[in-house]
Symmetry: C2
Subunit: 256 residues, 2 copies
């Protein structure tokens, strides 16, 4: 693989360009892009031109660069989360219809919950377009539901980051949260973004693959009815797991 | 830029790998990937490994390759269609609630309509995860609505592909469809996927940028009520255009 004088490969540089776009900012000036990626302007320009030739980026007038429609299309038509989202969406819609709450679906990626689908409460659809957000495990109910059902060794590895006894969050606190979640079978946590809401999440556990996702709702504190929410979520989670198994068995989704 | 012996650049090869995944097939064996891209197995393997190191691909046990969750995340958090979808979703939900029909939103890309968002009729959410589909302009109402409001020169260029008088579809037929669409202010076309359905679409026209999208519904023939559908779609399309203008003016979406 060809490397530049600084030793980074073309692949590295392409990755840095795609990663350079901060969340929600759809376009960057070429000069900003060069600055963020640490690439010389001429190299950045050449790479952007090449990627734009293939539609992976779009290079507008005035040097504005954005991710290309073609890249969006390629990634979304073969989304790595497609099988999971297809299995989950009908059940998420059931939850939304019955409980009229925001419903979300997350997977564990590193030490974070990555939200792969979201249905908003009726009348608040504006958030729908914003998926692909992340939350650290210990401050999100989805994260706790995902981590609490991972193998013991992974949990131990995860907890090492809280080993500083003077840290704001200690390993004991997080261990306690995980143990509680595992014992109850669901996670509950006060909302971080909005303190007047609670998040409740349950694991989606597939007999063959273990816990593959967390299904959760975000509920205004005043409407918190654990007795109603948890059984509904658990029922839906079982439905999602069964659907995933059926998709796999029927070979509907090749190798998925 | 470093080229291989065959003269293609690393960028070309990466693009070929990302493009190699056929629609709906989330994973490919490494050997299939090498075959489809025309890359030697060793080169394909090396590139896949490098892309997998960054999370852009995932290389599973047994040589299964899939698009990476990280790539999905990067593209979706900065989707080039984000501003449009955010502006359109509340209005699409209105249409879905009031008319209870499948609603879709498309943009023109080349000579095709690319569907960037879709809401399904209640009770048929399975389709929801499948966006990023394409339809040729002349066989989709969204495509006709998009093309009919493009500048005359672009339309003329588009029509040249139908110049073969012995072709199945002649330029005259398509020209007539476009003229009719422009005159009516909406496109209507019998369903291609399902002949018992009709597609109706209207352009979303922004004063500054021209026609940026098409908003459409797919309706069972038995429920076809043009008098109700078209005004609802046109009203929603105006709302979307106004919202896009407001987003731009407020600078909510930087450079979008």
């Amino acid at each position: 693989m060809a490397n530049s004088a600084s030793g980074d490969s073309v692949v590295d540089r392409i990755v840095r360009i795609i990663e350079a776009f901060p969340e929600g900012s759809t376009s960057l000036r070429l000069s900003e892009l060069a600055g963020t990626t640490g690439l010389p302007l001429s190299s950045a320009h050449r790479l952007v031109r090449q990627l734009a030739d293939h539609g992976l980026l779009e290079l507008g007038t005035g040097g504005n660069v954005r991710l290309g429609l073609r890249l969006w299309e390629l990634v979304n038509r073969n989304s790595p989360t497609l099988a999971l989202r297809q299995a989950a969406l009908p059940f998420m819609e059931d939850i939304q219809q019955v409980l009229n709450q925001n419903v979300n679906l997350a997977v564990l990626d590193g030490w974070e919950a990555l939200f792969v689908e979201r249905l908003s409460r009726r009348g608040s659809v504006a958030n729908r377009a914003r998926i692909a957000g992340r939350m650290p495990v210990h401050i999100s109910s989805a994260g706790l539901a995902l981590m609490a059902s991972q193998p013991r060794e992974l949990q131990a590895e995860y907890l090492t980051q809280f080993s500083d006894p003077a840290g704001k969050v200690t390993a004991d606190v997080v261990r306690h949260l995980l143990a509680e979640t595992a014992q109850l079978g669901y996670a509950q946590l006060a909302g971080v973004v909005d303190p007047d809401t609670w998040g409740i999440a349950v694991p989606v556990t597939d007999g063959k693959q273990g816990t593959v996702a967390a299904l959760g709702v975000v509920v205004p504190l005043a409407e918190m009815r654990l007795q109603a929410l948890v059984p509904a979520l658990q029922t839906a989670a079982r439905g999602i797991a069964r659907q995933l198994g059926e998709q796999r068995n029927s070979g509907l989704l090749r190798n998925a």
